[in-house]
Amino acid sequence: MLCKGSEVVVRTLIEQGTSLVYGYPGGMVVDIYDALWHHRTEIRHVLTAHEQGAAHAADGYARATGNVGVCIATSGPGATNLVTGIATAYLDSVPMVIITGNVPQENIGTDAFQEIDITGITLPITKHNYFVSDATRLASVIREAFALAQSGRPGPVLVDVTKNAQEEEVEWEQLPPLPRTRPKRHYHRSELVAAAEAINASSRPYVYFGGGATSCSAEKQIMALADAIDAPIGCSLMGISAIPSHHPRFLGMEGMHGHLASTLAMLESDCLIALGVRFNDRATGNRAKFKQGTTIIHIDADVSELDKNTEDTFAIVGDLKQTLQELLPLVRHRARPNWSEFVEGLRAHEEQVADRREGLTPQNALRALNELIEDDACVVADVGQHQMWAAQTLTFTKPRTFVTSGGLGTMGFGLGAAIGAAMGTGRRAVLVIGDGGFYMCLNELATAVAERVPLVILIMNNSVLGMVRQWQTLFYEKRYSATTFTEGQTDFVAVAQAFGANGARANSLDELEEALQNAFAAKGPFVVDCKIDRDELVLPMMPPGGTLDDVFFRVGE
């Protein structure tokens, strides 16, 4: 059929399975918004307060559902406001398609009103991007964008469409969505056999997984491998929720603020089996000194991650699930009683040094929250101390129920992402956020209220930028430069109410429990402003640039 380019954009989004988009209109996408109006029964558009919120919402939607998240913004500032959101998705390998408008082709390059080179700006933070000034290319480019966003290692893809391309009329024909391609298999079977032999020969294997476990749906295979070789399991921040927290082999997150047992088991292991994980510096500490001389078996969909941050003994490129299915029959099932006993010792030690203070500590606040979180509910954590406490304390039973900005560490990610996660799953989502992060995204309360999104928002409010303050406490002789707010300067409950949401304040554990009860009974967004002491630290901690040996779990004494 003959239709306008803007129609082609919307029809192709629908064809590719998109039923929900986030965005913000403007002069150079007004044609696309007109097409969205015509198709409003097939595709729902959610207006956010800010384009950054739209990008985070599309990202949260994608992380919680596994589907491609889509957002739309106009040229110039609309497009640049997306940048942090796109980079967040890129660093955490989240499949997204971003549509931006641009000025008509004849004005490109003239610094026209609201013209910006968004494909230039987003080149290093997208898997790929396209500049389309000819309507005949639109459908094929958008189809390609969807295929690319989901293939191999997922990521964001941006399509910049000039105004004239939206206005031109072209032929469009519906096609079936392209199938998602699995990462190509690049390894030879002999490499897998050699890796299996190394595993069989090891006496202290440690299974370590990251976000790739979820994007390849390899959770079962990971547990099966650990069972077969009697190994403990640890994960990176991005791996949390892929396997149940209560799994007997699971030691939790490893790294700068990881679980003590998990980090120490990694330190002691003689064979590190790294699955869909990229050895970020927050996980390894000093890269040059990380696990020197240990056998590292590294399996990832992205060849460029292999041998990048570590010296891998075996670097195997492939889809995690398929590769593990092939590896499993090659490893010898055997118990490693000495190793298991050692790991149990680490676990007991961790238990012994665990924070058991009473009252409204960060851990107790999160335990109270944990009691009320439904199994299917998605928990979003913003960035900072609360994020690490949440990663350490909350428990999960289903994949894709913990969403956080790991790679980029984007403060202000939380509220947008939580809106996307709740709308994507059709269930109440929980947001854990600091007061600093909440200042960055509280405008999206407007979106949550307008869309009646069921959200429990727990602000862990310590009136400081706690994570930076922690570094200042430990490494900068308590010079608290620009990290202290005036206590009580903002009444977050009144802010919530002003937006049309509900809220309650908690200054004690009892008050928190009551506030959370009310929050989980509410229909729309509910803000719980929970007071946390500003001198609380995230422990254990591996000092920046340190090694696994340098982890400490106590300060002072």
């Binding site: 290093p124 898997k127 790929h128 690319l148 992205d302 060849v303 460029s304 041998d307 990048k308 010296e311």
Partner: protein, 147 residues
């Protein structure tokens, strides 16, 4: 990508090819095997990249073009400049009372040596194209892409 990931490249040339569908980028890169593997795999992540081929110096025809503008106002050095140019087979592209432009085509090392020699005179401007290379024999990069 080269800058962002801090790959140490000393020359980069983008050129047309036998096919309007492809451009050819020739990069001179200095690094160990691990850095080389990393460079290749990062390049392969870019959807526009069809094929990356590592060229072995011995099995490749490499050349570069140099234009150099020298001061020519001192009559006593004019013949020396022309002699040196002749020794390297450099061509005189422009000759005035004040300046001379020489063109030299050859391997980078030859060009380095020639520039070094020219430092005896007054170099006003240098422009080098960067290296272009083709593998000797029947090897064709596009065939690799099609595989």
């Amino acid at each position: 990508m080269f800058r962002r990931r801090q790959f140490n490249i000393s020359s980069l040339t983008v050129s047309e090819t036998e096919s309007p569908e492809f451009s050819r980028i020739t990069v001179l890169f200095d690094g160990d095997d691990r850095a080389k593997r990393q460079l290749k795999s990062q390049l392969y992540k870019l959807p526009d990249i069809q094929v990356v081929s590592e060229l072995d110096r011995e099995q490749t025809v490499n050349c570069e073009l140099l234009l150099v503008k020298l001061a020519n106002s001192d009559p006593s050095s004019r013949n020396d400049i022309l002699d040196a140019a002749g020794a390297f087979d450099a061509k005189v592209m422009d000759y005035t009372r004040d300046t001379i432009i020489l063109q030299l085509v050859g391997e980078s090392r030859l060009i380095d040596n020639f520039i070094d020699l020219m430092r005896d005179y007054t170099i006003l401007e240098i422009c080098r194209t960067g290296v272009v290379s083709l593998q000797r024999g029947s090897a064709v990069m596009r065939n690799l892409a099609e595989q």
